[in-house]
Every structure is written in structure tokens, then in C-alpha cells.
Amino acid sequence: MTTSTAADTASMYELPPQTSGFRRFLRVFLARKIVVAGLGVLCLIVLMAIFAPLLAPHDPYAQNLSMSLKQPSSEYWLGTDMLGRDVLSRMIYGSRVSLIVGLVAVLIAGAIGMTIGLLSGFFGGWVDTVLMRVMDAMIAIPMIVLAMALGAILGGGIVNVIVALGIAIVPAYARLMRGQVLSVKQSDYVMAGVVTGVSHLRNMLVHVLPNCLSPLIVLLTMNLGMAILAEAGLSFLGLGIAPPGASWGSMVNDGYRYLLSNPVLSLAPGVAILIVVLAFNVVGDALRDALDPRLRGME
């Protein structure tokens, strides 16, 4: 009798089977179908960028004025632009520009911003005051305006666009990192490091940094879409990727003049930007929910 009661009690309070952290992460991350769709879209875009030479039906840079402004047909699925270049091939190659600029600009911004935030939060005092006031001042300059001003001096081209955007996004990472460091710095294991005489550098890199990373990874993903949008914007204004380079933003601008006769020239690259940015935003949101529920709802 006693035994059976004990067994009943044990089964009553039986804990659910333990799941690993990674499985839990995957369950939350992939909970919504739209996230799976977003991931699918991103995989397709990445593959398209990698295999652009194999996928593009025509040379994206080959001009043929006798074929200019052709309507979509079986040979030119999305028609041709004013220089007779195949729009579909240019869009396929344009995915390379978008992904490279977005990814590298965000990584540069992440690296610089994390370093500034780490130093600011860890040392505090005048280091914190100076660095954070500079970040506050940078935030006062709208990102695209700052990138335009930097681009104006540095000039166009993919490297300069990456540098300009990378610098313009830095403050977001610096502020987030600083907040994280301030919170992690109070932890017992960091205090223990200080008390046992661990060097500042080791304490920062080994104890503080790894524990601040997850919200930064979320921000990196969420900013990818924003950086792609900004690159497209700069190229639309003529301040980004120089001709004859294929950028979705500059393609939208090139097609604007032929909007009435050939709307697909402007509309198709715009749809591509929308889809990629939307996919990054959806995946970024899901990553935020899965990695750091505390950040839920923050923009």
C-alpha cells in the first residue's frame, strides 16, 4: 500500500523529459510556419548569389542597344533595360551585392560597436562618458544621412558603401553591448575574477564578452535587412554601387524613367528587396524570441 502510494506520488510529480538547450531553441525558433518560409527564402537567395554565373541566362553586363527596353518574353523573362541588358540576370547578380554589403557592413558595425560597448561598460567613468556621448551624437545623425555624408567623401563602390554603412550602424551595437556588460559585470564570476587578480583584458574577453553575445547576434540578424535596405537606398540615389554594377536599388532608379512603358524594370528589383528584407526581419524576430525572450518587443 505504502509502496503504491509512493509510486503514485512519484508519477504525479514526474518531471517532463529533459530537452537540450539547442532543441528548445529550435522548437521556439521554428514554431511559426512563416519563419520556416523566411529561412527557405534566405537559403534560395544565398544559393542564387553563389551560383549566379550558372543561373543567370545572360551576361548581366553585356549591352545590346538593339535589344533595349524589350518587354518580358520567353528569352528575356523580365525584359531588358535601356542598354539592352537582361533584367533577370542583373537581378540574380544583384543578390550578391545585397548579401555581401548587408553581411559585411553589419559584421564591421558589430565588431566596432561591440568593442566600444565592451570598453565603455567595463571601465565606466570617463571612458564610458566620452564613448557614449559620441554614440549619442552619431545616433542624432539619421543613419542614411550619415552614410550619405561618408559616401560623399569616400566615393561610390562596394567597399566604400560597406564602410559607410558599417560606421553608420555602429552606435546600435555599442549601446546594446554596454547595457549587457553593465549587467554581466555585476555577476559573481566576474567579481571573482577581479578579486583573484585576473587582468582586465582576460576578464573582459573570457568572462564578460561570451555572456553578452546572444542579444548581439539577434541584433546582427535583425540589422541585416536594414543594411540591405540602406544599400538599396544609397544605390537608388546614385551614391552606392557604381555602374555597370548590378544593384537592386540602382535598378529601381534606372527603371523609374520608363515606368509607364516598362514598369517591370522598377517593380521587379523592388519586390526582390522587399522579399529579402522581410525574410531577414521574420528570421531575426524568431531568433530574438528563441535566444533572448527579454528582448521581445524591442525594435
Binding site: M143, L150, G233, F236, L237, L259, L267, V277, E299
Partner: protein
């Protein structure tokens, strides 16, 4: 409250000082010689040197910065090379136009975005919530310049309802002004509206779960009152943060909208000055835009203090 405002004001002045340093640094320290760029490849060394002396660029950098800052503080932003006009006058002509479009878009974003977020939160899981959430996600991902082109194609070229481009002051011809600005304003507001709706939704959902909301409902307080009085007031802080950030993104977005709709505002002035290699104008536009955003953020900070006593009494 006054102490709080004065403290924030001092902070804003400090930030503006650093903004001026950043702008000056971008224009003077980065690789590339603005004078050589301004005059083009054909310019001789003498011409370059003459313009350098004229602009005071031959002096040591700290002296150049001090001179420029003193001039700016006296309202002298320099002279535009491409427009052959005082930069101050150029700005005075264009800033009200950007304000008109930007503030209208800002108000529209607030008037639609916050109620949309509240509705989505209250009707969580329903079709209205899904509609608002999906629209907000699209609004955040869509390139504003492309949307502008889409709008021109649909409402101007195909349907013929609205003019393709241009700007008329509302004081000159209100009807024409409304016809010309309705599309730029609506499109410019979309990004901020979407962000605001999302933030309001998540902020409201957070607050609606709190005990005091349950208590208010248990006491029989009407649902409208619970939402507007008890929930919204407490959900406002993150919403106001987004408003402050939205100001900067609106200014950024106006660059594209002014370009697509040929509106002679600050954004268009900046783009044209970059192409005209008129760095005196670029420098001034960046400084003024940043000052407007910083002052907007000051207003947001003051609003924080008014809404939440903990902030004005805190450190």
C-alpha cells in the same frame, strides 16, 4: 521638472557639440580632398590652392574647426559653390518644406500606428491582429523609394488621381498642396507607423498581463477605461522611445521621398549638393538635420518626464 529639463538641455548641447565635431571630422579628415573633388580633375594646383585659402582650409585643423563653429553659432553657414547663394538662405527655403512633409507623416504615424497597435493587442490572435501584424511587417521591409515609385505608377500614371510630383506650399494653394503632398506624406509615414504599431502591440500585451489590469477588470471597470487609462498610460514609455527613434528614420526617409516626388526639401538639397560636390552645403545639412533630431529627442525626453515621475526624479 525644471531641473530635469535643464539637465537634458545641457546634455543636448553637449551632443550637438560632438555632432559638430563628427561632421567636421567626416568632411576634413577622411581620405579624399574636398577641394580637389569640388574643382574636378581639370583644376590646376594653383586653383586648388586658391580655393583652399578662400575656404580657410590652409589653416591648422583646430583653427578651422573653431572658425567654422563660431560662424555657425553666428548663423553663418558659409556660401554654396553650386548654388552661389548663402547656405543659410538655402536652408531657410527648404527646411519648412521638409518640416511640412515630415511632421505630417509623423502625426499620421502616431494617429494610426498607436490605435492599430492597441487594437492588435486587444484582439490578439484574431484576424484584425493578423492583418495589422502582417501589414506592419511589410511596412518595415518595403523600400520607401520603391513604394513611392509604385504610388506614382498607380495613383498618378494609371489612375490619374494625383499629380506625379512637385510641391506647393499650403499657404499658397491649399488644395494643390494637399493633392501633391498626400502621397509623399502617407508613404513616408509607413515605416514609422509600422514600427509604432508593432511596439504598441507588444508593449500593451506586456502591460495587459499585469495584476493591476486584472484587478481593474475584477472591480468591474469598463474595458475601454481599462485599456485607455490603466494599460496605455503604462505602455507609453517604450512607445515614446520608438517615437524618438522614428524622428530620425523619418528624416532619413524624407531624402528618398523628396527625390522620388521632386520635392525641394533638405534631403533633395543634400543629394544635389553631393552630386555638385558642394561640401559646404552637405556639412551644413548634416549638422542641421542632426540638430533637429537631437531637439526632437529632447522633446521626447521631456515627455518621458511628464508621463513617468520616476524618470524626472531619477538620476
Amino acid at each position: 521638472m525644471l531641473t530635469f529639463i535643464v539637465r537634458r538641455l545641457i546634455m543636448t548641447i553637449a551632443i550637438l557639440f560632438i555632432v559638430s565635431l563628427i561632421v567636421f571630422t567626416i568632411m576634413h579628415l577622411l581620405p579624399g580632398d574636398p577641394v580637389a573633388i569640388m574643382l574636378g580633375d581639370q583644376a590646376s594646383v594653383e586653383e586648388i590652392e586658391r580655393l583652399r585659402t578662400e575656404l580657410g582650409l590652409d589653416k591648422p585643423l583646430p583653427v578651422q574647426y573653431a572658425n567654422w563653429l563660431l560662424d555657425v553659432l553666428h548663423g553663418d553657414l558659409g556660401r554654396s559653390i553650386s548654388y552661389n547663394e548663402d547656405v543659410g538662405q538655402l536652408v531657410r527655403d527648404r527646411l519648412p518644406i521638409t518640416f511640412h512633409i515630415g511632421l505630417s507623416a509623423f502625426l499620421l504615424a502616431i494617429v494610426i500606428g498607436i490605435p492599430a497597435g492597441i487594437i492588435a493587442a486587444v484582439k490578439r490572435g484574431g484576424w484584425l491582429d493578423s492583418l495589422i501584424t502582417v501589414t506592419a511587417n511589410l511596412g518595415m521591409a518595403v523600400p520607401v523609394f520603391w513604394l513611392g515609385i509604385l504610388g506614382v505608377y498607380l495613383f498618378s500614371l494609371k489612375l490619374g488621381w494625383l499629380p506625379v510630383q512637385g510641391y506647393t506650399s499650403p499657404f499658397e494653394d491649399l488644395r494643390q498642396s494637399l493633392r501633391q503632398t498626400v502621397m509623399p506624406v502617407v508613404l513616408l509615414s509607413l515605416g514609422s507607423l509600422a514600427t509604432l504599431a508593432r511596439q504598441t502591440r507588444s508593449s500593451m500585451l506586456e502591460v495587459i498581463r499585469q495584476d493591476y489590469i486584472r484587478t481593474a477588470r475584477a472591480k468591474g471597470v469598463k474595458e475601454n477605461r481599462v485599456i485607455m487609462r490603466h494599460a496605455l498610460r503604462n505602455a507609453l514609455i517604450p512607445i515614446i522611445t520608438i517615437l524618438g527613434m522614428g524622428l530620425a528614420s523619418l528624416v532619413g526617409g524624407s531624402v528618398f521621398i523628396e527625390q522620388v516626388f521632386n520635392i525641394p526639401g533638405m534631403g533633395r538639397l543634400m543629394v544635389q549638393s553631393i552630386f555638385g560636390k558642394d561640401y559646404v552645403v552637405v556639412q551644413s545639412v548634416v549638422l542641421i538635420v542632426a540638430s533637429v533630431v537631437a531637439l526632437g529627442n529632447l522633446a521626447v525626453d521631456v515627455a518621458y518626464g511628464l508621463i513617468d515621475p520616476r524618470i524626472r526624479l531619477g538620476k
